[in-house]
Symmetry: C2
DNA sequence: ACCTTAAAGCAACATCATTGCGTTCCGCCC
DNA sequence: GGGCGGAACGCAATGATGTTGCTTTAAGGT
């Protein structure tokens, strides 16, 4: 649901949506979240506040929308020629991005203004898609690979849990450890 | 940080805090979250809105505060005489409570109004404490038990991840599966 | 019992959220 | 290609919420 279902996808609506999203990114970068308010975003985007309220409902939903867009992976995971190397590299990068202060903020925002959970589902789908790509490549090479669900449970979930629920810093070594566990696990799954 | 650090713990401050918390619970039960607003809570609690704004900052922090209180376990996990049975029973109950609509709401609230992450950390600490109790009992009996961190990573984290990021319903069988995995894991950890 | 001071009350003010109505412009069909 | 229907936007007024300085109360220490 990143871009809300637009009955009128082209032209002005699209321009407004882009302008508003850009305004959010700019204001966030310039003044931080505290100064982010619907009227402020509207002014920067050259739109009236009522437009934003009508399209997004409130600030949280708008931020959630923007956050999900930022969390969308921009390219498929890099190919290192072997499952273990691919997964390790991906997990490290994922942890790095998500555990960073901006990453944490995006995740929180995505979860926040999301009454039906569709934005959060989208985030999970992004990660699952990346993992899926890595595993499919491994199978293509003739390697044995665990199911996606196993990797989600053993690698992605622990990282996200710690990011959300624990203040402690996280290291690449932790990501490596989780990958080891996942690849050592029996091949069946939930 | 459930009860904010009160320089004046006794007497009126305590009464006000309790009244406000009670007002939140009542209004939430009576009218749902949509109608929950700071002035409304203040009116029900018999306080002025400014008191709430000063003590909690905004509605989200107040809700986070109340949510954490509700997530505090009320009793130690039940003792079934064996590690496997104890963990399975606890995991099922935990999943049941957290995956329910009110449970999801509390978790989200707790994460939400929590700039420094201390409330979220408290939630995690509650779960870790319960697990710790179960594992300590097992060791007392002479059973071998994995470290707390392993159980957090292999049982708690996957459940919370799915609760937060996926709309799909979760079953007791899933909790059982996670416990199996955790108890089958090698004894070392992160 | 007094003094100190954190915390609550009060009230005015600023800002934000909401809504009805008129206008614009997209997308479609003739 | 020109007009038609309707969705989305702009504008402006209104009500609700968030914010702040000053005053008053009462808890806790001396």
């Amino acid at each position: 649901m990143s871009p809300k279902p637009m009955a009128r996808p082209g032209g002005r609506s699209a321009r407004v949506q882009e302008a508003v999203h850009a305004a959010v990114r700019e204001l966030e970068a310039e003044q931080g979240r505290a100064k982010l308010t619907v009227p402020a975003v509207a002014a920067r985007a050259g739109v009236t506040p009522s437009t934003i309220y009508r399209r997004w409902g409130d600030l949280q939903e708008l931020l959630s929308d923007v956050a999900v867009e930022r969390l969308r992976p921009e390219e498929p995971p890099s190919d290192h020629g072997a499952l273990h190397a691919d997964l390790t590299a991906w997990a490290r990068q994922f942890l790095d991005e998500m555990a960073s202060p901006p990453g944490r903020a995006y995740v929180r925002d995505a979860l926040l203004g999301d009454p039906d959970g569709s934005n959060a589902g989208q985030c999970s789908a992004y990660a699952a898609g990346q993992v899926e790509t890595i595993l499919a490549r491994a199978l293509d090479r003739g390697e044995t690979a665990p199911p996606v669900e196993t990797v989600m449970d053993l690698v992605v979930a622990p990282m996200m849990y710690r990011i959300l629920f624990r203040p402690d810093p996280l290291t690449a070594a932790y990501a490596d450890h989780l990958v080891e566990t996942a690849l050592a696990a029996p091949e069946e799954s939930a």
